[in-house]
Symmetry: C2
Subunit: 481 residues, 2 copies
């Protein structure tokens, strides 16, 4: 094996991992660019499609981190004159993008003030005496934090995982010495599946959710924070109840009683003492945010305005400093990739490509009735996630097109937009690379890959049945179809 | 003296430095808000003015860092319903803001690759044998870097100061043991005055310059990168020649011959060896950028598009990594304050307040002829900087209003916009707090405050004479008046 630090080897690595994929991206863009646009498609839209496809390929192949690929995409739209520089940068002023960026800032407060850990220990102390209860306590923590922590990686990896890891350690369950199955493996698998469900339950629970909302908005379908949460509540709670129990049955921990965990939580809480001013501020801000997100529509307060108000409280009170904000790398990274994708997707739509695609495919499959057509569409959308290493890449490449087709075949638009948006989270249950928390939790080493995939595949079916069955009934009650 | 770490003392500190000024800001906003708008002024514009004035006061009093104050300002515009959330966030998509943000990213490459230091040593090796030559070598370095490093703090503090400090140390000139005047004090004062002049010479040489361009654009005056550089070139080079010589006369270093400095530069260059690939890429990108900034207008390439292209080269080649980008705090900080100020200023303009102010004041002083009126206006603008601790706060609070008045009294618009923009840099020569590099260089301790102010005041006069006199002739040649 060559020394990876040696010059030729490093050069080959660079070539292989960076330059070749970059050349590939550019080649794809050039080929599509040169193919004549189909009849009815604007030349500009076609050129933008070339850049968009190359960008999505870049997001999947990852010669560079997501943000860098996005920046190259923005550059390409402006440099080729496909869009003006003002159009190319328009995504940066998008209000839904800033909702997520500001939520990233706010979520830092849960970790910084210790409120996130306190919530986890409170649930553990209450129901953590058995291992199934312990799992539910982590599910509950994730659910409580989900509305205001749009990075499910931060939630599952930053708040839950450290607690989980210390519980497993306390029970002598380590990933690599044959003790994984004692309790660690069970908790890891449950937490992973839970965060995927909570991600589907709130517009602000996963970074790519607002992307779906923006794309739906471009097709004339308005999804508010409230309707999202309402529609997801019943199937979401059902999944959060059923899935941990299912994992407990199919992949049981050796240790069933965990009194020491509840004890540990009580000790941690005692050590934390009373809530500190920063935690109080954080909690108050969080509650205010939820109220404004749910009811703000009636007061004319946009969710982003509410988020700005929450951030202002945290800054003025000192719970967060300005330095916390400008060093929150994840937020700036999200700002850039999000701005690039929203910009491209919205111009693909404005320039008529997405509607054209929807109408063309819709006309081709129009004979079979919308329910069957939409079922097929959503299942294809769901299981194509085996080929994606990120929710964002998947949503940005397929959501708008699939929604356009769904609407064209007659699916009620809001229903179609919501189901595809929920599926944009649930489809991550299957692999160990499909969403941010997967590498963190799978990477902990507690669960073998075969088990991860088998259980994941099974749970994907369970989730689909719950969301399409029970969810379908609930959405009928809500009048969505 | 109470222990500053004790709780009551800390609380008093917080109250004094954060809460009281915040309450003050809010009080100012409320008072202006409640005062009836003068006749001819839109109610919305007046409310926005209330928030704008409070924000500017915040930037000056600094209860929080600049970015945090700006974020509070954005929040206030949206939360009060003065602007919609989309309007409130519109600054984030502004192309001139992104020109500066991307230039911040690119300038990181000068420091990271070592190209900035190499340029400094090259000049030192060439003309650094005498202390005046040494000073000119630093001026030259600053001038070369200025077009692509919009943070003059990064330029003077990040590239020049470390070199300067090690030269002073080599000559046994320390700030605190009576040896400051050997050479350190002279070099510090010269570098400071030089960076102020180079900041005035390019649109991209100081973060608030594009703010002036945006504000001028709002009043219908278009300033390109090229016309700025062209108009500033003659007076700029004159100032860069005269000012170091003047400092050398009035505040001479004890050491006049500095062969060891030239020798040190040669050794450093030898130790650096041949240019590395990263430096080559950086240099090539820099040259390409300059070409595109100067000539891109004819090719239809906006300066921001050019900057994006430059950044793409640095990212693809690996000279900069994506992590360099998302950890570039200064850039994200600038994005936020810049977006807030541009947004407020442009809506103050759109809603008619700035034109109203210009016409009203212009009508009052209209009788005296534009040359005298503009001279008075620009001198007031210049010397009011004694009251400002940041170029940005000064430009954002006064530039648009002064330009509107100048145009109303009959000053040729482009001339007025450029002179006020140049003065927006030159006015920083006077105090030890007026611009970013001042705290860094003054803070080094080499120069006493009295000397700093006296020399600064004198140089301000010299700069005004050079720019209004020689500059005025040059602008006549260019047909600006």
């Amino acid at each position: 094996m060559p020394d990876p630090a040696s010059k030729p080897a490093a050069l080959i690595q660079t070539l292989k991992h960076r330059l070749l994929p970059t050349v590939g991206m550019v080649a794809i863009a050039i080929v599509i660019w040169l193919v004549p646009a189909p009849g009815g498609v604007d030349q500009k839209a076609w050129h933008l499609l070339a850049i968009f496809v190359a960008t999505i390929v870049g997001l999947i192949v990852k010669p560079f981190p997501m943000g860098a690929v996005a920046m190259l995409g923005i550059t390409a739209t402006a440099l080729t004159g496909t869009l003006t520089i003002t159009e190319a940068l328009s995504g940066f002023g998008n209000r839904v993008i800033w909702l997520i960026v500001i939520a990233f800032f706010i979520s830092r407060g849960f970790i910084k003030t210790g409120l996130g850990a306190r919530i986890a220990y409170l649930f553990m102390a209450a129901v953590g005496k058995k291992s199934l209860g312990l799992a539910y306590s982590m599910v509950a923590t994730d659910l409580v934090l989900a509305p205001a922590i749009p990075s499910n990686t931060a939630r599952a990896g930053g708040v839950i995982f450290p607690v989980l890891r210390s519980v497993a350690r306390a029970y002598g369950s380590e990933p690599d010495d044959g003790t994984a199955r004692r309790i660690g493996a069970f908790l890891v698998k449950t937490s992973f599946q839970a965060t995927i469900v909570t991600s589907a339950m709130f517009l602000t629970a996963m970074a790519a959710n607002p992307l779906a909302v923006e794309l739906a908005g471009g097709l004339g379908v308005e999804i508010t924070w409230g309707i999202w949460a309402l529609a997801a509540s019943v199937p979401g709670l059902a999944s959060l109840t059923v899935v941990p129990w299912l994992v407990y049955r199919l992949y049981p921990p050796e240790i069933k009683e965990t009194p020491a965990a509840a004890q540990m939580a009580r000790e941690k809480l005692a050590a934390m003492g009373k809530m500190k001013p920063g935690e109080m501020t954080m909690l108050g801000t969080f509650i205010l945010l939820l109220i404004l997100w749910i009811f703000g529509g009636n007061l004319g307060i946009h969710p982003t305005t509410a988020a700005l108000a929450g951030l202002s409280i945290l800054l003025i009170s000192g719970a967060l400093t300005w330095n916390d904000i400008i060093t929150e790398k994840g937020a700036w990274n999200t700002l850039v990739w999000f701005a690039a994708l929203v910009m491209m997707a919205s111009y693909l739509n404005t320039l008529g490509l997405i509607p054209w695609f929807g109408d063309t495919v819709g006309a081709a499959v129009g004979g079979i009735g919308w329910i069957s057509a939409f079922l097929v569409l959503s299942l294809v959308y769901f299981y194509s996630h085996y080929f994606f290493a990120s929710n964002t890449a998947h949503v940005s490449s397929m959501y708008a097109a699939f929604l356009a087709v769904a609407i064209a075949v007659g699916t009620p638009p809001v229903l179609a937009a919501l189901v595809l948006a929920f599926f944009s989270n649930l489809f991550s249950s299957m692999t160990h690379y499909g969403t941010g928390p997967a590498p963190v939790l799978f990477g902990s080493g507690y669960v073998e890959m075969g088990v991860w995939w088998k259980l994941g595949g099974l749970i994907s079916v369970v989730n689909i049945i719950i969301w399409m069955g029970l969810g379908g009934l609930w959405w009928k009650v809500l009048g969505l179809w």
